[in-house]
């Protein structure tokens, strides 16, 4: 299970962040009637935190074994997934700056 969590780590962090910011925006709408400044700040901060998590995952993949074809495949997909997810998380957080 741990191996799969690392393998899918990038998209999983993206998904967790996506659900979190949707939740924050929805709660803010119920409580304040709009996406308030604290909610927007939380969206940005959580985006930075999620991006850092993915960055750490990216560094972690350097320690994965990479000799056999399966290991090379595993490492390559994990690392690329983590890298792309950083961009996706930043992209996904940008609406916090909209009106």
């Amino acid at each position: 299970m741990r191996r799969w969590l690392i393998f899918l780590g990038g998209p999983l962090i993206w998904a967790a962040h996506f659900l979190f910011i949707y939740f924050v925006a929805s709660v803010s709408e119920v409580v304040a009637g709009e996406t308030s400044f604290p909610a927007r700040a939380l969206i940005v901060v959580s985006g930075i935190a999620a991006a850092i998590c993915n960055l750490l995952l990216l560094f972690r993949t350097r320690r994965l074994p990479g000799v056999e074809p399966l290991e090379i495949f595993w490492r390559s997909v994990t690392a690329t997934g983590a890298a792309i997810s950083i961009i996706a998380i930043v992209w996904q957080s940008l609406p916090a700056f909209t009106r």
Binding site: R3, L8, P11, L12, W14, A15, F18, I21, Y22, A25, S26, E29, V30, E34, T35, R40, E68, P69, L70, I72, F73, W74, S76, V77, T80, G81, I84, A88, W91, Q92, L94, P95, A96, T98, R99
Partner: protein, 842 residues
Amino acid sequence: MKSETGFDTALYDRFPTKGERPDDELSRLEAVWQPPRGISIVTAINNNIVGINYIAAAFLFFVLAGVLALLMRTQLALPLNGFLDEKTYNQVFTMHGTVMMFLFAVPAVEAIGVLLLPQMLGARDLPFPRLSAYAFWAYFIGGLCFFCSIFFGVAPDGGWFMYPPLTSSAHSPGVNADFWLLGIGFIEISAIAGAIEIIVGVMKTRAPGMSLDKLPIFAWSMLVFAVMIVIGFPAVILATLLLELERALNWPFFDALRGGDPILWQHLFWFFGHPDVYIIFLPAAGMLSMIIPTIARTPLVGHNLVVLAILTTGFIGFGVWVHHMFTTGLPPVSTAFFSAAGMAVTVPAGLQVFAWIATLAAGKVKWSVPAYFAVGSIIIFVMGGLTGVMLALVPFDWVAHDTYFVVAHLHYVLIGGMVFPMFAAFYYWAPMSSRRRLSERLGRWAFWLMFIGVHVTFLTMHLTGLMGMPRRVFTYLDEWGWQLPNFISTVGAFMIASGVGIVIIDLARNFRFTMAGGPGNVFGGGTLEWLPSEAYSVRSIPVVKSRYPLWDDANLADDVEQGRYFLPGSAIGERETIITSALRAEPLYLQRSPQPSWSSFGAAVFTAAFFLLLTVKLYALSLSSGAAAIYCIVRWAWSLDRPIEPATADIGAGIMVPTYASGSQSHGWWAMAIVLTVAGMIFAMLIFSYIFLWSRQPAAWPAPPDVSHFAVAAILCAGAAICAHAARKVYATTTKGAAILTLIGAAGLAAAWAASCFSWRSAGLAPELTSHDALVATILTWDALFVATSAIMALYAVARHFAGLLNAGRPATIESISLFLTYSAVQAAVGLVVTRLFPLAV
């Protein structure tokens, strides 16, 4: 080479074996896998028979839904046309969308998976062949009856997404909407059954050596497809359940006057509906990733990136559901999140497109009908993808929403992303299952008619939409200026139909089903499905050393055919396949596959009958059918987990593996875990519904009953979970004790449920008055289903004990029951916490 399971991978070097195989080995293998004859053919479970039947049924529904499209286009060809009246038109467009999405697209790709995966993975069959047969028959019988509703004027008429309040009983009296809500129940069950089969099949039945880096792209796409079904379908299952409860019992989930909200339907429906586009697209893209390397005669460019693209599509696909709800008044920031995700999802799709183009550029394309359809598919899909990005932009969506622009976009995506790949697959893989290949000449005619027809129909339709024509109108006035584009679209639709007609003629002339292989590998494919095959799939299961084993080992086909690899005969004299590990596909144990039986067929017939009779309100007959379905399923299960002799078997070259496994290594445990994931997702969606409706009107949420009942019910749930755990622990020493513990656990669960019901009843629960009470009653009803199933399972364990079928060395049955009981207890406890403590907390 490293090992995942302790298996000595040096043993692979024993293959291919030398020397002659025993004379009677092949004839015994053939006898074991021989399908039933005569009327009993309906009980056949060989994947090639079920797969072909499944594909034929899906294609039939494609043609029927296509005929409905032609009726619509005929009606719209001229202004104020009287070909169809408005009521019939409503039924026709609803059935067109519903049949295409539920009876054609998802079943078709699932069917192609059932047909291709065992051969592609080098397995004798999928791990649960009777489940595939059950899925097919429930779908086919139920689907035909559902379709026939249109001949009696009672077909659904609320659009394929059935939005309330239009579909509530106030605005849609009669059984039309019920046909949709209950009629697709069996399709949902069928899709989930197929998904279980595919996930376990891809993860556990691969040929030895086929580690995940060597897994064919089609198998990757089918794996993600099946996982998406497990995550996405529960939302629509719950949505249909809630709307049917509202219609039948007046429980107000979507009635704003009583605390409900029709937007809840849209959330639930589109949490399934938008991922469904990727559920359909991914397997089709997987087919293209198999076909294109063959026609270009070079390996797929960017294999690892394509795998990543498939995986990320599986994630982002679930972040796009609000894409369909931009005009519902959601907060701007929330819609912006989904707009961003809608644009982001084009990245993995685009990555696959670039990989295909690069492969075509890197190789030397041999033009054939599959090549035409593959390239045509790329062009159409990219055009649909571009308008998808336009619609992901919120302001543009406000303008184009519910116009023919959207109709044009979705047809480009679905035809390019699924229909054309399917025709490519027909022509590409037909030589595997037919004695004759399909005609190149007819195929090219079909392609050009369909390709030109698609653009004539749908490119024009973009313009019709931008001119302001809304969807779902049965006619229009001459002075509105929509006549010419509509007429052109109608001409195009008939061109597409002509192309499909030519394919039907080609199939009638040339397709002759055979399990013994036809012309064979005519396109020069490099993957295992092109090995010579029979009713038993491949004669022996090869050791896989590369992604394109047939290209890299010229002798492989001959060695496999001569029985020089794993499992050259029947190791224990029964149907069997090798179960391998998830990552490196190392042999774990020999699975005894089931024999054909009437129980799975009967279960399918009665499941379909249950839903259909419920729809037409024949309650007594419906309940009888439900009981008969349960009886068939119990009989089916009764034949499982039987003693196997010997305990170990030679699977080739003297390599011995066990003939039995339990726990997380066994395929049965995986299936139960997936079933519980589906149940968990439905329950999670129910909790989401509870919180969503609270968020609409927080002040209207009443206080829960007093906490003492909560404590009693919670303690009983904990007791049930402890009994389930204990049953598993004591099983090795006392099977009787384990069976009794499951019974006590089920009784505890029933008592917890009764205590909860009593307290809510005392508090005056009235589900027809408020959405809160309706949701609490639904949670209790959902729990009741698990209490009843737990009781049946516990009684089943006791019955097996008295029949002498529980054995300390074979814990699989009790493990599955224990897992189910534990889940049921946890679910009941979460339900208690949410309904009792959440209102207090907020």
